[in-house]
């Protein structure tokens, strides 16, 4: 046995099967001991006690006896059919025994001392007939109304609890809460292993149910009041959120569903299990960002859940279809669930418990809430922050990626709900209105995104009928231009370019002309020279001819005169010297 075991002997626990309760009690109720369940009228005592028995039979193979002092067997069965529990069947299968004890004050006259052996006998008979391991007495308060001899009653109840312990059954005993005391008749003195208190009150016009483990001997337990609700399959307690921020932090990034936005976010998108806030004024396109997020998730084959506080499912689907996003196939194949809720239907805590329950049932990997500003009217800033904190905590603990849209009234960065959560969230995308020249266009920028290099540029956010585009804006001397002014600017730019090019082309042409002209000049000059050369050549020719003719003449004349010496060294002239 380790050191730890010796120092903290743990009581064996009996799991209740009630959502959240086993977590809070670190395993369930004390096994083989009685637990006191105190609460005022309508707080849910009977239901919790019944769920303990039913779950015991269905999930833990422990038969149970439900001894009711108020409701008849039939009433009990009827009250729980809406929760899907078939008591009659369980009774037939001997998994449950219902024992109704009618106590009518008016009939009983007390004369002398008595015991409650009738109670013991009936209880024992019921337990033995099915081998019960769990017992409920609901509510022993009634006994105090029936018998006036308090002393006997007290001592008999003491005996009863001892007897239950000896029998080794885990019991829940329900009592009415006193005005200022835990129980009206001081029973908590005798049942001291575990005391649970249920509260049911109206706060801010909403009914809130809370459970508190007042005492649990030998176990560390959550000491807070935990809100719970009665859902359609039983009681659901808000599970404990981690006190330390020690959840796993994945490094995987998932697509936002909008390509350019992925690029702006370090190339990949949101971190898995991160929380993203998309804030903006009315009509800036927040819901579309949320819709693309869940669409991308569904495409990856991951379940997604959207909590819609403002629109109906049909409205949402129609609006998304107008921007080319059809979510209906995902709904049909079960990947996407759209849960519409009305913000004023219950209080903050109930909303939280309700949403968590829906998440636990559907088990999505991605959750979107549109918009969280719906909670603004339901509590103080602190309460809202606390609730959102719990929700975000819960999502992170369960590695669920969350996206919340937030309606803001101005384009600025600190606002009511936004400032409450901005420190809790990992990524903050802001959608703004760009107003210029009598036009409004949408813009998007990333205020922050922890853990990644993200773009800090403003992009124009276009909702077209084939989807979403993020395009660069113009930042000119007039400021940021988007929409039509951007188009104008683009056109202007194009025109300027065209003009510039035309000028250039023209210059080129002129140059060409000039060159040609010069070339022509050169050509003509050359021709001139050539002509002169030609002429010169001719002249030389003529001159040569003349000279040669002259020579010939001279020779002829010489011959006639009898000159024998060749004038030009001719070989044919015979050598006269040899004579």
């Amino acid at each position: 046995m380790s050191e730890k075991d010796r120092i903290e002997p743990q009581l064996p626990k009996c799991p209740t099967g009630i959502k959240g309760l086993d977590e809070i009690t670190n395993g369930g109720l004390p096994k083989g001991r009685p637990t006191l369940l105190s609460g005022n009228a309508g707080s849910g005592k009977t239901l919790i006690a019944m769920e303990f028995i039913v779950k015991g039979a269905l999930e833990y193979d422990e038969p149970g006896v439900f001894m009711s002092f108020e409701e008849s067997d039939r009433e009990l069965a009827q009250n729980v059919t809406s929760l899907g529990w078939d008591l009659e069947k369980l009774v037939k299968e001997k998994k449950i025994q219902l024992s109704h004890v009618k106590v009518d004050r008016s009939e009983i006259v007390e004369m002398g001392d008595f015991e409650l052996e009738g109670l013991f006998a009936r209880l024992e008979h019921a337990i033995d007939s099915i081998g019960a391991r769990r017992v409920v007495l609901d509510t022993i308060e009634v006994l105090f109304g029936a018998f006036t001899n308090r002393a006997i009653l007290r001592s008999e109840l003491q005996r009863l609890f001892r007897w239950l312990k000896e029998k080794g059954v885990t019991a829940i005993v329900t009592v009415e809460a006193g005005e200022n005391t835990l129980t009206r008749h001081g029973i908590e003195e005798y049942v001291s292993d575990c005391v649970i208190f249920l509260d049911n009150r109206i706060v801010n016009q909403s009914a809130i149910r809370r459970l508190c483990v007042v005492k649990y001997r030998g176990t560390s337990h959550g000491t807070n009041e935990y809100p719970f609700l009665i859902a359609e399959d039983g009681v659901s307690l808000l599970p404990v959120t981690s006190l330390g921020l020690d959840y796993k932090v994945p490094t995987e990034q998932i697509s936002t569903g909008i390509d350019r936005l992925d690029t702006m976010m370090g190339g990949e998108g949101y971190f898995r299990a991160s929380s993203t806030l998309v804030s903006g004024q009315s009509g800036t396109g927040k819901t579309s960002v949320a819709a693309f997020f869940v669409d991308a998730a569904c495409r990856r084959g991951e379940r997604s859940l959207v909590f819609c506080f403002e629109e109906s499912t049909e409205q949402l689907l129609r609006n998304m279809r107008s921007i080319g996003l059809d979510l209906t196939p995902w709904i049909k194949n079960g990947s996407l669930k759209i849960q519409t809720l009305r913000p004023w239907s219950c209080g903050l805590e109930q909303h939280l418990v309700n949403m968590i329950k829906i998440i636990e049932d559907f088990k999505p990997r991605c959750v979107a809430i549109d918009p969280i500003s719906s909670f603004l009217s339901l509590g103080t800033d602190l309460q809202i922050k606390s609730m959102l904190c719990s929700l975000i905590d819960y999502l992170k603990m369960n590695q669920i990626t969350g996206l919340f849209t937030d309606l803001s009234s101005r384009d600025e960065v600190d606002l009511a709900t936004t400032s409450s959560v901005s420190s809790l969230i990992d990524t903050w995308i802001m959608l703004i209105n760009i107003e210029n020249q009598g036009e409004r266009n949408r813009g998007l920028y990333i205020v922050k995104s922890r853990g990644m290099a993200h773009s800090n540029q403003l992009r124009e956010f276009l909702l077209t009928n084939h989807g979403v585009d993020l395009i660069d804006v113009y930042v000119g001397p007039e400021g940021v231009l988007a929409g039509a002014t951007r188009l104008t600017q683009e056109a202007r730019q194009k025109e300027a370019e065209m003009v510039h090019r035309q000028e250039y082309e023209q210059k080129q042409r002129l140059l060409e002309i000039k060159r040609k002209a010069v070339e022509r000049q050169i050509k003509s000059m050359r021709e001139e020279i050539e002509a002169e050369e030609e002429e010169l050549k001719k002249r030389i020719e003529i001159e040569m001819l003349r000279e040669s003719a002259l020579t010939n003449d001279q020779v002829a004349m010489g011959k006639m005169r009898g000159i024998d010496k060749p004038v030009s060294g001719n070989k044919e002239t015979p050598a006269r010297e040899s004579e």
Partner: protein
């Protein structure tokens, strides 16, 4: 003769219940003018019948007939008082004159 049906529920054989049974018999004697049927049931031996008459406390004496049904719990230490509660005047006794 008027029919009287009494049921006494006890739990075991402790002195308290022995006394209760004796008292019940004494009461029956006082009802000599009636056709009395007294049934003593030990719920230790027959726990299943405790549910029939909704027995919680013991000893319990129930008058089933004549109606209305009356129920007394406790040691029943005063048989005259018991008779009064059970609304059974012993036959043959004079009504006290005021």
């Amino acid at each position: 003769m008027e029919k009287v049906v009494l049921k006494l529920y006890v739990s075991g054989k402790s002195p308290r219940y022995k006394r209760a049974i004796e008292e019940a018999h004494r009461i029956r004697e006082k009802l000599s003018g009636y056709d009395v049927r007294l049934e003593v049931i030990d719920i230790r031996e027959h726990p299943e019948v405790a549910g029939d008459d909704n027995i919680l406390a013991t000893p319990t004496l129930i008058k089933k007939l004549p109606p209305p049904i009356r129920r007394i719990i406790g040691d029943l230490f005063d048989s005259d008082k018991v008779l009064m509660v059970l609304d059974l005047a012993p036959l043959g006794s004079k009504a006290t004159e005021i």
